[in-house]
């Protein structure tokens, strides 16, 4: 039976359909960019920083005249989970008319978006997911990766571990986030540890929604390792380091993945160990200082690495579009593959490796400042010098051609 409500609905839909072409036309002079990132779930806190970072970049680019004289229009949406991420990516390309796709932090979601990009033959700038397999076994020529891969994270923290004599002949106990990224990280960590003379005292797979680590802490004490290798992700890391500190265990922690936001959330006196990062707000370059100042002004707190990476990624994309005078996928791919160097607000510029599309750049190990040395609640991390060092090639810590199975 047709009710009055149905009639109203139908006429509203018809009106929407009729007005649609006009909307498209009005906006066609803007360049649309589809931006997907997790805003809920165990990576949601990082996604919020990502959105804040890309907003600053959008405003700066648009204020400076846009790209090829056209304004950028960045659509940021919650990618939710791998299935939703690919559905949204498909919709953005087909219905919303975005020129390119960007974003992600979750490796599993990044993988499904990469498949959409390959199928539709459109560019996806994969910003913040770190799994090796995205750049290796599952690489494709339509995707470029900005963040450092897990192998580089392991090697960056690993350099500091080797220096402190924490690896050779030691027994390590590893805790691993039970999803694509964690497994990948655990594999890289295991390779590094065994290659440098350590053995494994235990290996635990931990579901991403675990909030209580006490049974795992008991198992750690039962195994009495020399070193704890944390391959956890997102909220897990914060929960783990808080409860590790609560139980007062003293084994040194080698953390292979920690975002600054997770470290800040740990609270005073809870964090310990050696960890890697791709960027940090203490970095003393003019570009980083300016970005940190702008971010603090806008949001009243320092940016964390996912804010930075979204910021530089959009700048990279805008630069490529301006240089090629195009939003065409093939032209942009050629521009990136040429080894063009980009400003990353770090001491050295970075470039995409042509054969696996990863950005080669500096990374940094960090530890925790001794008690009482922190200026404020954002300041308890002690950042080390950049790796690779200034006199070493930028791709030193990245997987080599032999190690990486990428073929496009």
């Amino acid at each position: 039976m047709t009710t009055r409500r149905d009639v109203l609905k139908a006429s509203a839909a018809a009106a929407a359909a009729l007005s649609f072409p006009a909307v498209v036309k009005a906006q066609s002079d803007r360049i649309k960019i589809g931006h997907l990132t997790p805003l809920t779930g165990f990576l949601g806190a990082l996604g919020e920083y990502a959105v804040q970072g890309i907003k600053i970049a959008t405003d700066e680019i648009n204020k400076a005249g846009g790209v090829m004289g056209r304004q950028l229009d960045v659509m940021s949406e919650d990618s939710v989970n791998p299935a939703t991420a690919s559905t949204k990516a498909q919709r953005m390309l087909e219905r919303d008319g975005v020129a390119v796709l960007m974003g992600e932090i979750n490796s599993a979601s990044a993988l499904t978006i990469m498949q959409v990009a390959a199928r539709e033959k459109r560019l996806f700038l994969q910003v913040g997911a770190r799994s090796d397999v995205l750049r290796g076994k599952n690489c494709n020529r339509y995707t470029f990766h900005v963040d450092i891969p897990v192998t580089v994270m392991v090697n960056a923290a690993g350099q500091a571990l080797l220096r402190d004599g924490l690896v050779k002949g030691r027994r390590a106990f590893s805790l691993t986030a039970d999803y694509l990224f964690g497994h990948d990280l655990a594999k890289a960590a295991k390779n590094f540890l065994t290659a440098n003379g350590a053995s494994l005292a235990g290996e635990e797979l931990i579901a991403t929604d675990v909030t209580d680590f006490s049974p795992y802490l008991l198992k750690i004490r039962q195994a009495k390792p020399d070193l704890i290798a944390s391959n956890l992700a997102g909220n897990q890391v914060t929960n783990f380091i808080k409860q590790y500190s609560e139980f007062g265990l003293k084994y040194p922690i080698a953390g292979f993945n920690l975002n600054t936001a997770d470290a800040w959330a740990a609270g005073d006196g809870n964090l310990s160990g050696i960890w890697p990062t791709v960027w940090h707000h203490d970095l003393n370059t003019p570009g980083s200082r300016a970005f940190v100042a702008e971010f603090r002004k806008r949001y009243g707190k320092p940016p964390e690495n996912h804010a930075w990476i979204e910021y530089v990624s959009l700048k990279i994309m805008a630069e490529a579009m301006n240089a090629t005078k195009s939003t065409d996928t093939e032209k942009l791919i050629a521009y990136f593959e040429r080894g063009t160097e980009f400003d990353l607000l770090k001491a050295r510029r970075g470039y995409f490796r042509s054969w696996d599309h990863q950005l080669m750049q500096e990374a940094y190990p960090f530890t925790v400042k001794p008690k009482g040395k922190a200026k404020d609640k954002w300041d308890f991390l002690q950042f080390g010098a950049a790796v690779p060092a200034a006199n070493q090639p930028l791709d030193l810590l990245a997987p080599t051609r032999e190690q990486n199975t990428c073929s496009m």
Partner: protein, 291 residues
Amino acid sequence: MQFFFLLEQVVNGLVLGGYYLLIALGLSLIFSVGGVVNLAHGAFYALGAYFSLEIAKLLGFGPAVVLSPVAVALLGILFERFLLRRFYTADPILSLLVTFGLALVAEQAIRMIWGAAPLPASMPPEFKGQVMLGEFMFSRYRLLLLAVVAVVLTGIWFLLHRTSFGRVVRAGIQRPDMVAALGIRLQPYMTTIVMLGVGMAALGGALFAPITNVHPAMGAEIITVAFVVVVIGGLGSFWGVVLAALLVGVVRGITVHFASAAGEASIYVLLFLVLLFRPRGLLGERIEKFE
């Protein structure tokens, strides 16, 4: 040695059960008396944690743990008076929808006020560290937490079973019509039960803040386990919830010991088995109004 390790997991599981109990008991009480599954219960847990951090900034950790549940309990009055009260006799699907909606609204509100990034929280350093009882390792803080849970539990039991207030509440669970016929208005009792329930959830939030990640979705994390505990324990049964909370903690600990990746799944397998063989829950009573 293997056996000892297992035993240690069992004991730790019992401690963990206390952790679940604070949340589950309030959920069960509200469920039993009002017939409302309060899906917003986790939101009060999260608010308890966030309030405690704000209060701790001004007054320190101790007062925060006491005052935050009080503040949330006062919110509970509003929640009962203006929202829950309308749904006691309505179709259960309506109360499910409204409390689920409230949970979403509360989570977004927290995100708007405090931001999506998790907030730092620490306990006073003197609570940190381990206590060795023989060969068993305990976290000092969790033992304290267990003591608090025991006190709260005793208090609630006493209130329900040794006072005239409790007699009315228990009668109200079984035969609300009879209570009404005796000329007793159940509404003020219900308000008190909701206050107690959400207050306990907030106490849980305030106590767990130093050992868990304080973020907007923390309520959603805890509500699932709490709900599982209530269903396993059985409706209307005080000791059922206690038993179920301990059981869930122990089963999870044992599973982690043998197959860590299955740790979280084990809780739901347990739920499945209980529902299969004893749909009423372990110690659940038959309650006419739900049949």
